[in-house]
Symmetry: C2
Subunit: 465 residues, 2 copies
């Protein structure tokens, strides 16, 4: 093929490239053949739109070109012209080179593949319009995360993945080891001798980077993590992954109000970023599924809304005054369940809601204790349609109080010596929150199964690819 | 304290905030007491510079203030005034509140702590000037990675961490399991029954995201990973980590020349970004260690240099013509060792060097085979002072050729069914490379131990924090 630098379809659809020659490269979506010419549609992944190329029989390899199968990879040189079709521009093909052929066993044929089926070919699903949209949005929201925090003076922290710490004091952790399972070293008493394992102790995969985030907040001021976290729970639901990405900012000198404000601004920023940068993708998703038809309106609504802020105690009062029948109890002290959260966001307020000051019994050991002796300075952000999307808190900065709480819970303080040091030396008010990135993506894309918003999902019995 | 919104020191040193009241919060570096007033120096992590506050005896709690210990956390309200000292601005303190005290056991006293000692208190080391500098640069370079690729139309890919695949066909992997090691299920033959493990098969921690990156490049065009990768090798050196962060772009339709150009542009961009955004940090690092005095000059030199490009065969010729005595052999077919790489970059060219077309025996199975039947389209980027910093290649896109190579190496093709699918359906020329993020950070900061450029290093026998 005559040498012309490849132009991404995204550049073509931006406009301005009309009546000029160009070379495009991509994968064939369809070829419609008529007697004297064929319509070829290709995608190259750079944007949502596909390009239509008209190739007529004067092309030297017209026979080959007009019979190309879906999935074929091509390079096409031609002239870009304005079009009266669905796209403002199309190409008059002059030269077509097949870079890689396809065949009839190619699993992604034109229509009708189910999401379940596409999950089994997760290595090919990024070639579809649907998953192209989802993963371009995933990229855009990742950028948004970094831009939001960078613009506000936060530093990105790579918290450790392999850890000996169980950050939440509760999560089920994957074990990490280099032991030969057929020959595990044991001590005199027959106990496993972890001092002989790779790290000299028992280790697993992190469930949170928060504790390490606090160390860095106490040095750099404001930090955030954005990395993989793990749960070894046997949860086979549409909302759980064994491996997922989490964002955890931690802010020195912040009280709960500031933490809640940052969380609200962050959610709005991410949504606004998607609306501003992924218009074509969101429009595709809106049309793709009838249940999604209100997607863009919902996102616009949240972007421009104030968030309601109520205490847990007020939330309980609202639920009890609702006259609604709930499956789970709503007396003071009970956990807020998804049905309760949805009532608050979807029925009562029709807005995102931030609930604060939960009973200490519902929350983790590190949260700042209120004067009332019953509640902690916790905060959850609930959004319409999804429920809890962010959980956070002001942290207990008092050495004595956090020690007392750990004692109450029967925790081993020695395991947290470094975490307690933060309260011993120059302690400061501080707080932060965690956002499950895939939860946010489900909300923004309207995808209803979390396995469809992460490239290669890991769930019980599934670690393919 | 009278309510004034906290101002970060970074904002103060930007200039413009003179002769106005402000509240600052941070950690005490030192208090120098004289009869009628004290000089307090604080840092807040937002920037390299510390702020000096003059507090005189009219402050109500002057006795407490003048005896504050290093590490104390304070909030100070005062008036910002121009100064004749090292900084252009200082503060006349009006009110000082101790937020968290320190004591004489605080491990970071004024001077002289060794890097080894600070590694043992990795939870506190971000409070030092040195590690503040290093980790602000780490943040800046992370942003630079995302900006570089986003600006060029690449999509960020979160490749999986837990995997059943050994990407390189060689690396030593950490095992991931939820088996109770005291009660591992076994089949009839007494073999471990991995179908009963969490993922239904044997899994480990990823050594590379490249293969998954290729899947996405064949759909979205250009992608990059930036995530943690793992090596279970028992390497206790200043250059090896068990857990480190890697950046792996993968580019559809790219040949080796394009891959090399992107790698060169990327290295220059990262270096330029640090020079433009971390001037104070780099100046601190230049002064901190005599061996580092040329750091900024070296970085400026690389930023403005062309990169030399030679083939492996040419490199061997240069080494053999050098008259230099090397420890390791330099006949054609031998691996290039660090001593060889350093000769090329530090002695022969005094410039970064890209070496291409290595013997296939030195390189991985997936690299594109040259016509000569002996070499592959591989590429390493070598930089002065460090050696190899990037390794990459054009990938073999021919189904038949890659299968033949896998057969030669005795690899199980069934394990790679999905990877081979990429060559079966719409294969395209493509390539990419990997950059070890900590290697790059060592180069940019001049730190000589990789454990000092990652927040919480994981190495054999060390997974503390």
């Amino acid at each position: 093929m005559s040498e012309l630098k490849r132009v991404a379809l995204k550049e073509i659809f931006k406009g301005g490239l009309i009546d000029c020659d160009a070379t495009v490269k991509g994968w064939v979506r369809s070829v419609r053949k008529s007697k004297k010419f064929s319509f070829i549609t290709i995608s190259d992944g750079s944007c949502q739109d596909n390009l239509q190329i008209i190739a007529d029989e004067t092309i030297s390899n017209y026979e080959e070109v007009s019979t190309m199968l879906t999935g074929t990879c091509v390079a096409i040189r031609g002239k870009l012209v304005s079009s009266g079709g669905r796209q403002a521009v199309e190409m008059q093909g002059m030269e077509v080179e097949v870079l890689g052929s396809s065949d009839s066993t190619y699993p992604i044929q034109k229509k009708g593949a189910t999401l379940e089926f596409l999950r089994d070919i997760a290595h090919l699903r990024p070639r579809t319009n649907l998953f192209g949209a989802v993963f371009r949005i995933r990229h855009a929201l990742s950028m948004a995360v970094h831009e939001f925090f960078n613009d506000r003076g936060y530093f990105y922290l790579h918290s450790p993945i392999i850890t000996a710490q169980d950050g939440e004091g509760a999560g089920e952790m994957f074990k990490v080891s280099t032991f030969n399972p057929n020959d595990i070293p044991r001590d005199d008493k027959g106990e496993i001798d972890y001092t002989k394992d790779y790290f000299g102790k028992q280790t697993g995969l992190t469930v949170t980077g928060q504790l390490e985030g606090e160390c860095y907040a106490m040095g750099l001021g404001s930090v955030y993590t954005f990395g993989p976290t793990f749960r070894a729970e046997n949860s086979n639901t549409t909302r759980h992954l064994s491996e997922f990405w989490m964002i955890e900012p931690e802010i020195a000198f912040a009280d709960l109000e500031e933490v809640a404000d940052v969380a609200r601004d962050f959610v709005k920023y991410l949504i606004g970023y998607a609306l501003d940068n992924c218009k074509d993708e969101l429009e595709f998703l809106t049309k793709w599924n009838k249940d999604n038809s209100g997607l863009i309106d919902t996102l616009e609504h949240v972007r421009s809304s104030d968030f309601i802020k109520i205490t847990y105690t007020e939330a309980i009062e609202i639920l009890n005054a609702s006259g609604q029948k709930f499956e789970f109890p709503t007396e003071w002290g009970a956990e807020l369940q998804t049905e309760h959260e949805k009532y608050l966001t979807d029925v009562h307020y029709k807005l995102p809601v931030i609930v604060t000051d939960y009973p200490s019994t519902c929350k983790a050991f590190y949260m700042k204790q209120n004067e009332d002796g019953k509640t902690v300075r916790a905060m959850d952000v609930l959004v319409p349609g999804v429920g809890e999307i962010i959980g956070g808190s002001q942290r207990e900065e008092s050495y004595d109080k956090i020690c007392a709480r750990m004692d109450d819970l029967g925790m081993e303080k020695e395991d947290y010596w470094w975490y307690l040091d933060l309260r011993k030396y120059g302690s400061a008010p501080h707080g932060g929150f965690g956002l499950g990135f895939e939860r946010m993506l489900m909300y923004v894309t309207g995808m209803s199964n979390v396995r469809d918003v992460i490239p290669f999902p890991r769930t019980p019995n599934n670690a393919e690819f």
